[in-house]
C-alpha cells in the first residue's frame, strides 16, 4: 500500500514536471481526439485525412526544404510552416479549404464532421 502510494506520487510528480513541455501533444491525445497529419513535401500537400471529427487535431508536418503555410480560404486559420516545422489546429465542423499563401498552386481541403 505504502509502496503503491509512493509510486503514485512519484508518477504524478513526474507527469506534472513534464506536462508543460508536452501540453499541446497531451491535449491532442486526450481520449476521443484523434490527430490527423498532413505531410507537406516537394511543393505539395500529401493525401487529405478522412473521417475527421470536430475537436480532432489537424497537423501539418513540413518535410520540404521550402517554407510554406496552411492558410484557410475563409480566414479561420493561418499557420506558418518553416522547413522541418509542424503546426496544428483544432478542427471545427465544415469543409476546411486551405492554400499556401506563398505558393498559390498548393491547395487542399479537409471535410470535418
Amino acid at each position: 500500500m505504502l509502496r503503491t502510494m509512493i509510486l503514485l506520487v512519484a508518477v504524478l510528480a513526474f507527469a506534472g514536471g513534464f506536462m508543460p513541455a508536452v501540453a499541446a501533444d497531451t491535449a491532442a491525445t486526450a481520449p476521443g481526439r484523434r490527430v490527423h497529419v498532413i505531410l507537406v513535401d516537394k511543393m505539395a500537400y500529401g493525401p487529405m485525412p478522412t473521417g475527421v471529427r470536430a475537436g480532432d487535431i489537424i497537423e501539418w508536418a513540413n518535410h520540404d526544404i521550402l517554407e510554406h503555410s496552411a492558410t484557410a480560404r475563409d480566414g479561420r486559420f493561418d499557420v506558418d510552416l518553416k522547413p522541418g516545422a509542424s503546426a496544428h489546429i483544432t478542427a471545427t465542423a465544415g469543409t476546411l479549404a486551405f492554400f499556401c499563401k506563398f505558393h498559390p498552386t498548393m491547395t487542399g481541403s479537409v471535410v470535418v464532421k
Binding site: K42, M43, I65, H103
Partner: protein, 176 residues
C-alpha cells in the same frame, strides 16, 4: 532579357530535338551542366530580388521579392549539397552564360527605373523569367536529367517556378 530568354528556350528545344534524331539518344546536355543551369537561374532570381528589396517601397513587391530570395536560396542550397554528395561539379556552359548575360542586361535596365515604373518592370520581368525557365525545365532539362535525385529536385523546382509565376502574374496585375 525576353529576347535572350527566347533564344535560350529555342536553343534548348533544338538541343532536345537533335537528341531524338541521334542514332544513340544520348542527351545533348549532361547532369553537371543541367545542375549549373538550374543553379544559375536561382542565383539570377535571388539577385533580382535583392535589387527589388533595395529599390521598391511597395509592401507587395517587397514580400514577393523576399519569397523569391528565400525559396531560390533554399533550392540552390539543396542543389549544392546534392552535387557534393554525388561528387558532381556543376559545369558552366553556353546556356548558363547566355542566361547570366541576359539577366545582367535586365538588371541594368531595372536599375535605371524607380517607383511605380520599377515595380511594374520588375513584376513583368519576373513573369517572363519564370515562364522562360519553366519552358527549359519542363521541356529539356528535366527530361534530360539522368540522376534520380537531381531529377526530383528539379521537379520540385518546376512546381516552385509554376507557383512563383502565378504569384508574379497576380502581382503584375495588381500594379496595373
Amino acid at each position: 532579357m525576353n529576347k535572350s530568354l527566347l533564344a535560350l528556350a529555342l536553343t534548348l528545344g533544338l538541343g532536345s530535338l537533335a537528341g531524338v534524331h541521334a542514332a544513340t539518344p544520348a542527351p545533348a546536355i549532361n547532369d553537371a551542366q543541367i545542375a549549373h543551369i538550374a543553379y544559375t537561374a536561382g542565383v539570377i532570381d535571388v539577385t533580382a530580388a535583392k535589387q527589388a528589396l533595395q529599390k521598391s517601397h511597395s509592401a507587395d513587391v517587397r514580400a514577393f521579392a523576399e519569397e523569391m530570395a528565400r525559396d531560390h536560396a533554399a533550392v540552390n542550397d539543396q542543389a549544392l549539397a546534392l552535387a557534393k554528395k554525388l561528387g558532381v561539379t556543376p559545369a558552366d556552359n553556353a546556356t548558363s552564360q547566355s542566361l547570366a548575360k541576359g539577366a545582367a542586361a535586365e538588371q541594368k535596365k531595372l536599375a535605371a527605373l524607380s517607383g511605380a515604373a520599377y515595380d511594374k518592370a520588375y513584376a513583368d520581368n519576373e513573369v517572363a523569367f519564370h515562364k522562360a525557365v519553366l519552358t527549359a525545365l519542363d521541356g529539356t532539362l528535366i527530361p534530360s536529367t539522368q540522376n534520380a535525385e537531381l531529377k526530383s529536385l528539379l521537379e520540385t523546382g518546376s512546381k516552385l517556378f509554376h507557383s512563383h509565376e502565378m504569384h508574379a502574374e497576380h502581382l503584375a496585375q495588381s500594379l496595373k
